[in-house]
């Protein structure tokens, strides 16, 4: 286990150590200042990129060059990962474990004190999106630029009639994509396969799967199995009879996003899981029922918390509902737990998601080494449901609502 504490002094020691060099490196110059270089960027090493241009004389020169240097990694990753080949057969060729939020891969299962029985599996190479499809700004390099700097992170937008129309359309497409994914769920199917279905259905509809490359997320949807709370990465694991799995889809179409998710049963699940999933569904349902102009955003958390407590389950506190529209995530922030300090009241024309994550055991979450997958701290199961909502003059419109054609997979919906 590497010593996590380090100081500037240690770097100097390393660089002044006589290395067992083979002599070739004495020709390398610091990419920034030109002095003789004996230090190398570890990411370049990992990606097996050439040393020329990736060597530095000191940590300081390296740090100073960092913001321009790192684009080399992104370019390299895009060209190696976006090979275009779809690994539909579950051969292990080219499939690796995800690390660093999607910016790295490793052939070995990472170290972690896993909280439950689930383990990450290798993931397939990055899927491509045809050029005719309108893409958000993170599609090329993994980094959203408009979103973090927008005023919409501080002010809740009132959508115009035209924007609302687009959101209705996109919300409906997102619903249809999710339904397509729901239809393929059964024991033996991998979450990677679900991702392929989501990816292809989205593109067939002319949309871009928003999660793809969002802050380097490697896939087109999130698949969260059993103790995974959210942001699970589709991989080579086959769903098993008795699992529960959440599929979270966001589609970007005509310049706006539509976001929804549902938790499904794989084969026959036990009573505790059925209870958890149904209770989660009800939490969302009850939250939506209070949405109308004048209601405080804070209140959503109270409603969810009340129902969860009464049902003997707990509410995840680290992730929240969010504003949505031309941005994937923006104001307002909507916590799902009670006694929160969320600011503001609902107004007609606002669009946001509510997406409670409910745990069978404790509320606390932990993060897997991949930097995305959130799991319950006690390894017990977690379920989630999400809709994109529009506040209307008198109440609410669910933009991602079930359609008559939506698969009949929730027993409690049958009268």
């Amino acid at each position: 286990m590497a010593d996590e504490k380090y100081t500037h002094k240690r770097i100097e020691n390393i660089s002044s150590m006589a290395g067992g060099s083979d002599g070739a490196d004495s020709n390398l110059s610091c990419a920034r200042c030109g002095k003789p270089a004996h230090l190398q960027c570890p990411k370049c090493m990992e990606l097996k990129l050439p040393r020329e241009g990736a060597a530095f004389c000191t940590q300081d020169c390296f740090k100073a060059s960092w913001s321009s240097h790192k684009s080399v990694h992104v370019k390299a990753k895009l060209s190696t990962l976006g090979s275009g080949e779809q690994n539909s057969a579950s051969t292990d060729e080219g499939w690796l474990y995800c690390l660093r939020k999607g910016q790295a891969r490793t052939p070995k299962l990472p170290h972690f004190d896993w909280t439950g029985t689930l383990r990450p599996h290798p993931i397939s190479s990055m899927r491509m999106v045809p050029p005719h499809i309108d893409q958000p700004d993170w599609a090329t390099d993994g980094i959203p630029k408009i979103e973090p700097n927008s005023d919409l992170q501080h002010v809740v937008e009132i959508k115009t009639r035209e924007q609302i129309e687009r959101m209705r359309e996109t919300g409906r497409i997102a619903r249809e994509v999710l339904d397509a994914a729901a239809r393929v769920i059964q024991p033996g199917v991998t979450t990677d396969e679900i991702d392929r279905v989501v990816h292809e259905a989205t593109i067939a509809a002319g949309g871009y799967p928003s999660p793809l490359n969002y802050h380097f997320f490697p896939k087109s949807c999130c698949t969260s199995v059993n103790e995974v709370i959210c942001h699970g990465i589709p991989d080579a694991r086959k769903l098993e009879d008795g699992d529960i799995v959440n599929v979270d889809v966001t589609v970007y179409y005509k310049g706006v996003h539509g976001d929804l998710n549902e938790t499904y049963f794989v084969g026959n699940v036990d009573e505790a899981s059925r209870h958890l999933v149904q209770c989660t569904y009800e939490c969302l349902e009850k939250a939506i029922s209070i949405v109308k102009p004048g209601v405080r955003f804070r209140e959503i958390g109270e409603v969810i918390n009340r129902h969860a407590s009464m049902s003997g389950v707990s509410v995840v506190k680290s992730y929240c509902g969010h504003g949505i529209g031309e941005l994937f995530h923006c104001a307002p922030n909507i916590p799902h737990y009670g006694r929160n300090k969320a600011v503001g009241v609902m107004k007609a024309g606002q669009t946001f998601t509510i997406e409670p994550m409910i745990n069978a055991g404790v509320w606390r979450d932990r993060m897997w080494p991949d930097g995305w997958t959130a799991v319950t701290a006690d390894g017990k199961r977690s379920a989630q449901f999400e809709h994109t909502l529009l506040v209307t003059e008198t109440g609410v419109e669910v933009l991602t609502a079930r359609l008559p054609s939506s698969p009949n997979v929730f027993p409690w919906l049958n009268a």
Partner: protein, 365 residues
């Protein structure tokens, strides 16, 4: 909002055939949850040269036996890493460390990446008693306060303890007057307005003959802007640590401190409207109040900016209808909370007292 940059990893010696991942980037072995009290975070603001670094060094180097980490907010969020100094070396020697800001999707997470980074720091250390966040060139501490003032429900490993601003007794008058000559709002007002503690430093540099009245004038000036702050005079920032650490200024249940504060503000409303327009306004109401109505009233002021009032801070004690609990009120910009803190004692006079600090404040009920 920040950019999603990762920190530069530790560059490795060429021909180093060891682990591919630098120590900094290696995922931490998670430790089991420590059910300990959360670590207080103090935000330190102040003009360049007022003495922030002096204060930080004084706190770090005093032999108080406390293990303290200082985060030097130098890089902002561009590089994705902050430099930290901790007095955990031999005999309290300072050890430097990097704190990595979590990348990526902060948009649907409740905790800002800075909070996550501080929590990871606390988790990594065997023992950390306090964290100082030294801001450089930050005019307005409100965004930082909002990020750090977490809901109790989150049971976070860190909590906002107080905002301290260091002002320079020699230059303060000049800094406060600056706005007369320029169109910009001087940082000094904001820093004072948001402070829980104001350290009036370099008092020794004020000319000794009239230092008494000069200092009193300065304190009055500060008081007019923010009557809730505790003003401490100092030379080279040598202050009594018990007054600046563990203030619990944002602890809803720490009612005694709040009550004492409001006691001093009894009938106060700074009638002398400060030139900046920033002032303190106090409201007293003996009758019990309807909590729902108070919320609506407060929200009109804080969220709707009624009459264009710009509230920076608000603190209060409420006597609520149909409740035997004293409620505390606390607000930083639009974020506010009203929480039952303790039972009213039999002999107490149950009064409502609310103090506002802000611009363009007018009395309204």
């Amino acid at each position: 909002m920040e950019d999603e940059d990762e920190e530069p990893p530790l560059a490795v010696q060429i021909n180093d055939t060891g682990d591919l991942y630098s120590p900094l980037s290696q995922e931490q072995f998670d430790k089991p949850e420590k059910a300990e009290a959360s670590v207080g975070v103090t935000v330190i603001t102040g003009y360049l040269g007022a003495g922030k670094s002096t204060l930080v060094n004084f706190i770090l180097n005093s032999h108080h036996g406390k293990r303290i980490a200082v985060i030097l907010n130098e890089f902002g969020e561009e590089i994705g890493v902050e430099r930290a100094m901790i007095n955990e070396g031999e005999g309290g020697a300072l050890v430097e460390e990097w704190v990595e800001l979590a990348n990526g999707c902060i948009c649907c997470t409740v905790k800002h990446s800075l909070v996550q980074a501080l929590e990871q720091l606390v988790e990594r250390k065997e023992r950390l008693d306090h964290i100082l966040l030294e801001t450089t060139g930050l005019a307005n501490p409100a965004p930082l306060a909002s990020v750090l003032w977490l809901d109790d429900q989150l049971e976070a490993a860190v909590k906002l303890d107080s905002i301290i601003t260091v002002v320079d007794a020699k230059n303060l008058r000049f800094q406060l007057n600056k706005h007369r000559d320029s169109s910009s709002f001087p940082e000094a007002f904001l820093q004072i307005a948001f402070a829980d503690v104001v350290i009036l430093n370099k008092v020794d540099l004020v000319s000794p003959e009239d230092s008494g009245s000069v200092l009193e004038e300065l304190e009055k000036e500060i008081y007019n802007i923010n009557s809730l702050a505790n003003i401490i005079r100092s030379v080279r920032c040598q202050v009594d640590l018990s007054k600046i650490l563990n203030c619990r200024a944002y602890d809803a249940t720490h009612a005694t401190h709040l009550e004492a504060l409001l006691e001093e503000n009894q009938s106060l409303s700074t009638r002398d409207l400060h030139d900046s327009g920033v002032r303190t306004l106090c409201i007293c109401e003996p009758r019990q109040v309807n909590l729902d109505k108070v919320r609506l009233w407060l929200e009109e002021i804080l969220w709707d900016k009624k009459f264009n009032m710009d509230v920076y801070r608000c603190k209060g004690v409420l006597s609520v209808l149909n409740s035997d609990q004293l409620h505390t009120l606390q607000a930083v910009r639009e974020i506010y909370e009203i929480v039952p803190a303790r039972k009213w004692k039999g002999e107490e006079s149950q009064l409502n007292k609310i103090v506002f600090i802000g611009k363009a404040l007018i009395l309204l009920f």
